[in-house]
């Protein structure tokens, strides 16, 4: 009897038997989860390191500012133009959708609108490429505008969703103050709500552009037959652009071309990573500011 109540003073303090097994399993699971996270970071590091170490050798001023064969200036300019046109199309529509969601839509409207945005977001980019080909290119000619429409469809749900999140954070007090002063709804939206959320809306847009700028699939159908020596900003012709050029060089299998492709990859990746990292930091800051 008493042996059960008084613990054995000589017993080891470390767990044994079933508890020991359970703790080992738990420990193993923790290690596995940590390894998974480290592996993902390692893949990111390897990809970026490869691109950086191989790309840096090719990049100099001439590479950035001259045309083929010494540089990729036309491609950079074309990608800039295409992204700009896409954003000019997607940003107003996206912000208006976000306003519709936060200001006007009822519960059902919000729900179906979100579903529509989710479906748009889920469409494979190659399907969008086929779509703009059928709509704007077939029986006509390739154009940067067609490519921009496809990219705009990619950006649209991202901008709408990001803007909506920020708009929801605009303090209720501001709106109510505006209401109390007898300001009409449209005036308070345009002069109080939107300006307050502007920072967040812009960063959401930057994130969307960073996501769309590297898209290749639609551009292969919409803006792939171009002259790599030709500097142009005319959106109604096929413009040289970075993603398609990297794709072409990678298909050609020529070592010189590979170097050029690494150089362009480094430029594109660093632009995209800096833009999305910067935008993320700003977005987090403006969200904190709004919700505090």
């Amino acid at each position: 009897m008493s042996g059960q109540l008084i613990p054995d003073p000589g017993a080891p303090l470390t767990p044994s038997g079933n508890l020991r097994r359970r703790q080992l399993v738990s420990r193993a699971a923790e290690v596995a989860a940590t390894v998974a996270a480290v592996a993902a970071i390692a893949v990111l590091a390897i990809v970026i390191w490869t691109v950086a170490s191989r790309g840096i050798k090719t990049i100099d001023l001439a590479f950035i500012f001259t045309g083929y064969p010494t540089g990729v200036g036309p491609m950079l300019l074309g990608t800039f133009v295409i992204s700009l046109v896409a954003t000019l199309i997607a940003m107003p529509i996206g912000v208006l959708i976000a306003l519709f969601l936060t200001e006007y839509a009822g519960a059902r409207g919000v729900h179906s609108m979100k579903l529509i945005l989710d479906l748009l977001n889920g469409l494979p980019s190659i399907v969008l490429g086929v779509f703009v080909f059928a709509l704007l290119v077939d029986h006509k000619q390739q154009s940067a505008f067609a490519a921009a429409v496809a990219l705009a469809i990619i950006e649209l749900p991202l901008i709408a969703r990001g803007s909506q999140e920020v708009l929801l954070l605009v303090p209720k007090g501001l709106r109510e103050a505006s209401d109390a002063l007898g300001v009409a709804r449209w005036r308070s939206v345009l002069t109080v709500v939107l300006p307050t959320a502007l920072g967040g809306v812009v960063t959401a847009t930057v994130l969307a552009v960073a996501r769309a700028a590297g898209e290749t699939a639609p551009l292969i159908l919409a803006s792939s037959v171009f002259d790599p020596k030709h500097f142009s900003v005319n959106p109604f012709e096929a413009l040289p652009n970075v993603p398609v050029w990297i794709y072409k060089l990678s298909e050609e299998g020529n070592p010189e071309g590979f170097n050029e492709a690494w150089g362009m990859s480094l430029l594109l990746v660093s632009l995209i990573l800096f833009a999305s990292l910067g935008a993320r930091a700003l977005l987090a800051r403006s969200k904190r500011k709004l919700s505090s």
């Binding site: 359970r22 703790q23 923790e30 596995a32 989860a33 390894v35 998974a36 996270a37 592996a39 993902a40 970071i41 893949v43 990111l44 990809v47 970026i48 529509i93 208006l96 519709f100 936060t102 006007y104 979100k114 579903l115 529509i116 945005l117 989710d118 479906l119 889920g122 469409l123 494979p124 190659i126 399907v127 490429g129 086929v130 779509f131 080909f133 059928a134 469809i153 749900p157 709408a160 109510e176 209401d179 109390a180 007898g182 009409a184 709804r185 449209w186 345009l190 590297g214 898209e215 290749t216 792939s224 990297i246 794709y247 990678s250 492709a261 690494w262 990746v269 990573l273 990292l277 993320r280």
Partner: protein
């Protein structure tokens, strides 16, 4: 979200002091703003319908010539006008399933690591870094896969798997010379689905009530038992929805896959042989399509892809709404 009371008060206050012109302007302004907002929403809805219409319209010749048989027919001979997407559907299914089988457990583990294990500072750094993986353009990931991953896989991974498991698993057959294979494409897709599933599941796991976890811990559950008994069961439907979203991403990836899959044209059991998927076939053959029928068949492939992606997204959203108490999947 204005209520009736303030607007009534507003109307009363306004009646006395505001000029009729301003009142009329406000009336027009309110309606106009609502109008253009609703128009924008309508444009988004119309875009989906228009995409569907254009793709079906483009596929019309192939639809009427091959009918539903196109989906399982395996011949693809542009020169003879014979098309079937069977091989492509097989390649799409195998690469996506492989990517999900490998990627989902890793991604869920990352989600658990970020919410339960990592200190705040660490998860604040690692979380965004994992999401950056999704920011790398697919063409660059594919280019890296072509020049770095494929040779490595061909030289080390394929012989190893063939020697150790190839004896009883025919999917790990004899390695090929290039490393461009269904296997390499699956690895690239794995990298692409990781950040999607990881970030959604992280949000899900964060939504699990702290009380439940603390209660389990207080009863003596180890960390793993809390995960098994509390965290995973409460979020399981959301995790499934996240996996479906990842699957949708993998199914539709065209560029990176076409760079590393090697454009094979037969159904092979051996994962180390080249293959092709619906999306990558469109990307590689559409610009140089030989005939109208060839083009229409590629439209048909796009139609299949579109239907699959719509179904996957609807399913994910339905699951998210129907079963999960958390808004993480469905916003």
């Amino acid at each position: 979200m204005s209520t009736a009371a303030p607007s009534a008060a507003r109307a009363g206050a306004r009646a006395g002091r505001m000029s009729p012109l301003r009142k009329r302007l406000d009336l027009v302004g309110d309606r106009a703003l609502f109008g253009i907002c609703a128009l924008a929403a309508l444009i988004a809805a119309a875009t989906i319908v228009l995409v569907g219409y254009q793709v079906v319209h483009g596929a019309q010749p192939a639809l009427s010539k091959f009918g539903f048989a196109f989906v399982y027919e395996t011949t693809w001979q542009p020169n003879f006008g014979e098309f079937g997407a069977g091989t492509l559907l097989f390649g799409t299914a195998v690469t996506s399933a492989f990517a999900l089988l490998l990627g989902a457990p890793i991604a869920i583990a990352i989600g658990l690591f970020l919410t339960l294990l990592a200190p705040r500072g660490v998860s604040g750094v690692i979380g965004p870094l994992v999401e950056l993986l999704a920011a790398i353009p697919s063409v660059i990931l594919g280019f890296w896969g072509l020049l770095v991953l494929a040779p490595f896989v061909q030289a080390h991974v394929e012989p190893f798997l063939h020697d150790t498991l190839g004896g009883f698993l025919p999917i790990f057959g004899a390695p090929q010379t290039t490393g461009l294979s269904i296997f390499t494409a699956s690895l690239i897709l794995t990298i692409m689905v990781l950040p999607i599933i990881a970030s959604i599941t992280r949000d899900l796991f964060q939504s699990v009530p702290r009380d439940l976890q603390d209660g389990a811990s207080a009863l003596g559950a180890t960390r793993w038992e809390v995960v098994r008994g509390i965290v995973l069961p409460t979020t399981s439907t959301g995790v499934v929805a996240a996996c479906i979203l990842g699957l949708g991403r993998a199914l539709g990836e065209a560029i990176a896959v076409s760079q590393v899959i090697g454009a094979g044209s037969a159904i092979q059991l051996n994962l180390f042989k080249p293959g092709d998927t619906l999306a990558s076939r469109i990307a590689s053959q559409f610009p140089g399509a030989l005939t109208e029928l060839h083009k229409a068949s590629l439209y048909y492939c796009a139609l299949i892809l579109m239907v699959i992606s719509l179904v996957a997204n609807l399913a994910a959203s339905w699951i998210g709404r129907r079963f999960s108490y958390s808004g993480a999947v469905n916003w």
